[in-house]
């Protein structure tokens, strides 16, 4: 049974200037009959499936809908059309380092983030030490989170998210965390998870990385699915497309 199945998935939403002009103006525009909502399609008719242990590279220029698609798969967004099935627990590393609280200590943030990722308190009590050790933040446990450097922040985020054994791993441009030594460690950790049989989705602008790691490739352009299939072939076509631009 495929781990991830997407059938004809589309995501669209109403865009308008209402978040900038505000409620008063929208009400006035409605009264005057000038209110015109526009629909924006972020992802259009995407259709693919992945088996266990596969690594899907997602490529496309900026604004192609890559991040939106990852949000749909991780369950944060609901598709407006289409059906999907995602089987297994997901570890999603979308834009590391955001969503932490600068006013709390490293320890408090670690527990809070663990709770958000759906871990239990017992699990956190058990794994807290190894999270801190992996992130190499032993001396900073009781410091305020805002006092950490940005590299330390992403190291912590990575460690919390990766010390579980996920069935599905979602990576959005996160293979470059921290300094050289930690980057090697985080890549090793991720490869360990991938080799352990996790189905992985990887968004990257580095075609080399995709060629090296991916077993399948999905190419998106302006929300449209351009191609899905063999890595080498699609990467070549994408390269040609980029050169032709």
């Amino acid at each position: 049974m495929p781990k991830i199945e997407l059938h004809d998935i589309s995501v669209s939403y109403i865009v308008g200037d209402f978040s900038t002009v505000g409620l008063k103006d929208v009400i006035i525009q409605r009264i005057q009959g000038k209110y015109k909502p526009k629909e924006f399609v972020a992802v259009r008719h995407v259709d693919f499936s992945l088996e266990e242990g596969e690594l899907l590279g997602i490529i496309g220029t900026n604004g192609a809908g890559k991040s939106t698609l990852l949000k749909v798969i991780s369950g944060i967004m609901r598709p407006t059309e289409g059906t999907m099935a995602v089987r297994g627990n997901i570890a999603s590393l979308l834009e590391l380092g955001t969503g932490f609280d600068g006013d709390l200590t490293v320890r408090e943030n670690t527990f809070l983030r663990g709770a958000m990722l759906g871990y239990t308190r017992e699990f956190m009590n058990r794994t807290y030490q190894s999270i801190i050790e992996f992130a190499e933040l032993q001396e900073f446990e009781d410091r305020l989170f805002s006092h950490l450097s940005s590299g330390m922040k992403s190291r912590l985020a990575f460690s919390i998210a990766c010390l579980v054994k996920p069935d599905i791993l979602i990576l959005d441009e996160v293979l470059s965390v921290g300094d050289g030594a930690f980057r090697q460690k985080s890549e090793d950790k991720m490869l360990e998870i991938i080799k352990g049989g996790a189905t992985t989705l990887l968004v990257s602008h580095s075609l080399d990385q995709i060629r090296r790691m991916a077993t399948k490739v999905l190419w998106l352009e302006k929300g449209e699915q351009m191609a899905f299939g063999e890595t080498a072939e699609i990467c070549d076509r994408y390269q040609a497309f980029l050169n032709g631009k």
């Binding site: 409620l23 944060i76 969503g99 006013d103 709770a115 990722l117």
Partner: protein
Amino acid sequence: MIEAFKQFGLMLKKHQFLFEELVKRDFKKKYKRTILGMLWSLLSPMLQLLVMSVVFSNFFGRDRPHYTIYLFAGNLTYAFFKDSTYGGMNSLMANAGIITKINLPKYMFLLSKNVASLINFGLTLVIFLLFAAIDGVTFHVRFLMLLYPILWMIVFNIGFGFILSALFVLFKDVQYLYDIFTLMLMYLSAIFYYTADYPEHIQKLFYLNPLYVYITYIRNIVIDGFIPGWGTHILCAVYALGALGLGAWIYKKYNYKFLYYM
């Protein structure tokens, strides 16, 4: 209805760890880990009360007993409503960085914020009762009935917070409009004046304001010495369930759409 509550209970159990951690976070942020922070949140309503009673005692409170307690009951309720709904309004946007990255039930953020407000309210309530005792109010078993309006106030504030937080995701000027709204509401809630001074048909109009209903309930019990009638009991519940129902409906319907605008 009962099924919905059951499901809600299950959700809470499932996310209990998250809920506790969020409450801890909101609590720490509110009081900045200082004893003074906690004192300050009690001091500011006290100061307000002091100013109001100095200014208004000569106008409204001259020939009425327990005017300070009368003021306090109004302030207490209004401050709880304001604190809780402002916190609720901001709860989604303030956590946008989390909500757009991790799949979580969004109402958790609003509920944890409400717990912090509730703790504050509880502390002020203790001081209120202390003041009442000093002012010569005799305590009676019917004081237990204070729990009734308080319970519905909690529900009402949560529901109102739901509605506001959803609006705030879409319209960024809601916070300024809400400033004006709360100011008007304060003047309309008979916090420092007496509705008995108005003609009877106007007095009835005050019951359209949920805050006024909750304030009146508390005053009836503490100052006037009686438990209000069935009508007030029903109104307390209707307003609260109305706000919660509308808020829950909005969340259920637009839950996954909030994200596009954060």
